[in-house]
């Protein structure tokens, strides 16, 4: 082996264990990490922002003014209340639907399947309009003993104010989607984990609380975050029946001053901020339930 005379190492002559290796992050992966690529991307982004920012139709002054206008903030509050209430009712209802759907009783299972089929099939906008207009079809609502007329009844239009009608529509729709998300989480818990809890002498209820629920939560949280963001944005549909949510307020203002895009941007900024809040909460919850996950 004559290597001493030349300073060009013949790598091919080396045994495999002594050959130099290339870093694994090769090809496109490595190109995307180059500083020059970041610089180029930054320039393009800056150009796009500049183009929008200097567009005279943008009316930055109105955006800034309307962003915190009392009427917009009122709408924002309504949006938050509707979304939060529908989320809470939907979560509880979803748990019930998921457990019914997994019941060993065929009647209970069929009821859950029927609920899911109906509420996932009818578009949310249609559901909102149906609840809003229910008074034209069923003027009285209430509970009582069938065929006797004894019971508590009220005027549909009084009970189902536009606000309540929207809440009912969003919550029932939400329960259907949450039901399937929760069921997916419950199915992801291994049978051996449940059996271990039962074998230790836990009742079914305790095994559910101590073992099934926390383990299911881990796989429920990411789709739950998705679903809550969807719900938040779906609240904008209630503007069709004139509940004063963020979107209704924005529409109301641009109907009179014609600054359509600026007001849509105002609404978008608020939706974006709320979405960031949900995303952060999702991250916190994910970390909270990540215990024991093999990495």
């Amino acid at each position: 082996m004559a290597e001493a005379s030349s300073n060009i190492v013949d790598f091919q002559a080396l045994p495999l264990e002594d050959r130099p290796v290339e870093r694994p992050a090769a090809g496109l992966q490595r190109v995307l990490r180059e500083g020059s690529v970041w610089l180029l991307a930054g320039l393009l982004a800056a150009y796009a922002v500049w183009g929008i920012a200097t567009n005279s139709a943008m009316r930055w002054d109105s955006i800034a003014r309307f962003l915190t206008a009392p009427i917009i903030l009122q709408g924002l509050l309504t949006t938050i209340v509707i979304a939060a209430a529908a989320a809470v009712v939907g979560l509880a209802g979803g748990l019930v639907i998921a457990l019914m759907r997994m019941s060993s009783n065929p009647l209970i299972r069929t009821l859950a399947i029927g609920y899911l089929g109906l509420f996932r099939a009818v578009p949310l906008l249609v559901q909102i309009l149906i609840w809003y207009n229910l008074g034209t079809f069923l003027p009285q609502l209430g509970i009582g003993i069938p065929f006797t007329g004894i019971g508590l009844y009220g005027d549909t239009n009084v009970i189902l104010s536009p606000f309540v009608a929207c809440l009912v529509a969003l919550a029932l729709n939400q329960a259907a989607y949450m039901g399937e998300i929760i069921r997916g989480g419950l199915l992801s818990v291994q049978q051996g984990q449940i059996e271990a809890a039962i074998a230790l002498g836990m009742t079914r209820a305790k095994a559910f609380r101590r073992v099934v629920a926390p383990q299911a939560a881990k796989s429920i949280i990411p789709p739950l975050g998705n679903d809550l963001i969807n719900l938040l944005k779906a609240t904008s549909l209630v503007s069709v029946v004139g509940v004063g949510d963020l979107m209704t307020r924005a529409q109301g203002i641009y109907a009179s001053n014609y600054q359509v895009i600026p007001l849509l941007i105002v609404a978008s900024i608020w939706y974006l901020l709320l979405t960031i809040v949900i995303t952060l909460a999702q991250g916190l919850l994910e970390r909270r339930f990540a215990a024991g996950v093999a990495r």
């Binding site: 291994q190 039962i198 009742t203 305790k206 073992v211 024991g292 093999a294």
Partner: protein
């Protein structure tokens, strides 16, 4: 492996702690347990061996009331499995009564896993704290002793996914022991383990046996059955075809099927 020969115990002198009488069970048309009768005495190490699918796991699950059976009876100590005495009649268990019964029987099996979202220590105190109502401080102290006994004193805060298979099974044994059970059931506790990990788990089981724990051990480890087991039952197709002291079953099997089965498992460990 180096098992001490168990001292001879005069089997008939001790009354049976568990009495299995004419138990039968079918899954559809598949008769999985066929008129099984068995006595398990206090302090006895009762091994159950037999080919795959012969009903060993099912029998064990009946002993822990994890599965019900179609006919026959099992009595543990003063409890008829599945029923509570009310006057002269026996009433079927409520869910809570079934749960209360299971506290008294420990189960370690390849399929009954450690809780993956809890650390080793949390796994061991879960039963005492949540089921028995022991205070956390007391449970932690007892758990530390148990974990030291199974050689996991330094693993309190590890999650199951951070343990080797043998360490997981030893932690599972500690979790079951924390309930202070009357009987320990083992269902192929070592069959998913690499050969070098089998010995450490069997060692813990052997130590438990010499402490006088009543144990029912379903195993493919013929050497463990022969050396640690007091009595061995051989199952085939849902029946117990041979039942006797370990030395009798291994050195003087009466049934040709037993001879065949032992020949197939002659190497002390099978793959």
């Amino acid at each position: 492996m180096n098992f001490a020969t168990p001292e001879f115990r005069n089997a008939s002198a001790v009354p049976a702690l568990i009495r299995v009488r004419n138990v039968s069970k079918s899954f559809g048309t598949n008769r999985v347990l066929d008129d099984v009768s068995l006595d398990i005495r206090k302090g006895e190490v009762r091994c159950i061996i037999g080919p795959s699918g012969s009903g060993k796991s099912t029998l064990l699950r009946c002993l822990n009331a994890l599965t019900d059976f179609d006919s026959g009876a099992i009595v543990l100590d003063d409890t008829r499995i599945g029923y509570t005495e009310r006057g002269s009649v026996l009433k079927p268990w409520t869910g809570r009564e079934a749960a209360n019964f299971r506290r008294r029987v420990g189960l370690v099996s390849q399929h009954v896993n450690l809780f993956s979202h809890r650390t080793v220590l949390e796994n061991v105190i879960e039963g005492p704290v949540q089921v028995l109502g022991t205070s956390r401080a007391v449970a932690v102290r007892a758990a530390s002793d148990l974990l030291a006994r199974v050689g996991l004193a330094d693993k309190h805060d590890s999650y199951p996914s951070q343990l080797s298979g043998g360490q997981q099974q030893r932690a599972a044994i500690a979790r079951a022991l924390a309930m202070d059970p009357k009987v320990m059931l083992f269902d192929e506790a070592t069959s998913a383990l690499d050969p070098e990990l089998v010995a450490e788990v069997l060692g813990v089981m052997q130590a438990l046996a010499s402490d006088g724990m009543t144990m029912v051990v379903v195993t493919h480890e013929m050497r463990f059955a022969e050396e640690v087991g007091d009595t061995v039952a051989v199952m085939e197709a849902g029946r117990i075809i041979e039942d006797g002291t370990a030395s009798d079953v291994f050195s003087r099997p009466r049934h040709q099927r037993t001879v065949d089965f032992l020949k197939d498992h002659s190497g002390f460990r099978t793959a």
